[in-house]
Symmetry: C2
Subunit: 334 residues, 2 copies
Amino acid sequence: MAKTIVAVDCMGGDNAPGEIVKGAILAANKNKKILVKLVGIEDAIKAELAQYTYDEAQVEIVPATEVIETAEPPVIAIRTKTDSSLVKAMKLVKEGEAHAVVTAGSTGATLVGGQLLVGRIPGVKRPPLAPLIPTNKKPALLIDCGANVDAKPQNLVQFAKIGSVYMENVIGVKNPRVAIVNIGAEEEKGNALVKEAYGLLSIENDINFVGNVEARDIPNGDVDVIVCEAFVGNVILKLYEGVGAVLLKKVKSALMSNIKTKVGALLIKSKLKETLKDFQLEQYGGAPLLGLNGLVVKTHGSSKANEIKNSVLQCVRFNEMEINKKIQEKLSDN
Amino acid sequence: MAKTIVAVDCMGGDNAPGEIVKGAILAANKNKKILVKLVGIEDAIKAELAQYTYDEAQVEIVPATEVIETAEPPVIAIRTKTDSSLVKAMKLVKEGEAHAVVTAGSTGATLVGGQLLVGRIPGVKRPPLAPLIPTNKKPALLIDCGANVDAKPQNLVQFAKIGSVYMENVIGVKNPRVAIVNIGAEEEKGNALVKEAYGLLSIENDINFVGNVEARDIPNGDVDVIVCEAFVGNVILKLYEGVGAVLLKKVKSALMSNIKTKVGALLIKSKLKETLKDFQLEQYGGAPLLGLNGLVVKTHGSSKANEIKNSVLQCVRFNEMEINKKIQEKLSDN
């Protein structure tokens, strides 16, 4: 099988370019079927590359002289910074010179660039950003999380289908259970958007729709594809992080409160760390922006090499499983 | 000062009537200025009362023969079960024979009954349900959490004002900081509802509006009144519970994994429990349904005596501080 080509935005994120280049090389060294195109300021990338051993046939540098900062207005940044690492990486996908982009840069610019530069698969109305979130069982796909506010019921139906394809083929969940986020388990509950989407989802034959999921039950992990509009998805994603961080801070302060608890802490520390690792959002790599002519993976702004590595490896499976073709088929089913 | 009269729905909730009656008596015994009217099936209430010592001048029984179950459609239940404990308790407020209702019964029936039976303060468009939620600092008021889906921007402005009055006068937070839940900190972010509400909130002089709050930052506790429409509020409230519960389950399983961790667990257990207690939603008592001609406090369905007691005590401060008069003044300010 041909190589999967991943354009890596080496200038985006808090730890660019060091951790980004490192992550790309780790991925290339792990999987010989990857070619990474490192996009960014040439000298900076070369200086980083000098530290590593890798197969030169797997690594290319694509020079870009500009950098899009997090605070820049996304549309203006994408339109005017044509020699930025993000714009050039996305153009590689558009022009068929890469299968995917991985970026830790501005979320706004990534979403805008995905739509304007990479472009949508025919039939996809709004490309959803769909991170995996930890649960008490297996991770679940939260779709959509930031790309499209004020969504319509039909958009949510597409999210359900796109998410089902992703979970089945990339994550390997057979017949993934799809639920819509609502404020009660009963069918008649919810706002106008959710009620109408519920009706549409119920009559779809090619997804495994199981009904409403209340926010309280999301962390239990009983559904695989969690459908919601972007505002609600964003609240869920961010609150997961926020509540987790504050609770862990509280646990730590309890462990450090006196001699007795400090001794106890030594005994439980490694086990506790291991258990809680499952519940960290970062470990699942970046969030794919789905429904595009190619794949765009947005990693955390604070990504380190490991998250970049996992995100690049994710692109291989996405490419080899022909996810976009499957999404297109699913959407044209009815 | 005259007594505060609280109608307690003794038949609502998982632990009715035992824990409900017990909680009401605990409150009466704690504060001599309370008169509790215990509404429900007379024999059942009498049997519970027989276990306690209390001042008979502080306790009355108001017989009601019916019970509204959680699963009943709210509007039908309120309209047809006219001799239910919830309907009778609410009618006591409407008729001026009680200042407040405390119920652990059906949320839906409570919200409907509040509007239909107790009635709104003139000028209040939609009465918000506003629980206190724990944060890393002081608790914050989450307003609205369940009463009104598909809210309008003007409703959110009222929530901000009503919430400010509550936090300032009931909880004692001077000049409470008000923020609106959004998907970014910048003014231009968000959906149509939030953008328009942001504009309206910015030009209000009589609230301390500090801008957007992202869901990630809610648990930090840097704002006092968290304004959102009910769907989002419900998601925040429920996810708080859900993420907290799963994380604690994980911590517990780590502590129980082997002999070493079990010894460690013994050393940290009491301190950990004490620290995490601050982060349990139940400890803040019930959620007030605000903007009504009286006060309705909805406690958790699983409420035990302590939550009922705290909720009854909350009504005293609400009544003595003349919160409804203050809300009415605030709303008529511009």
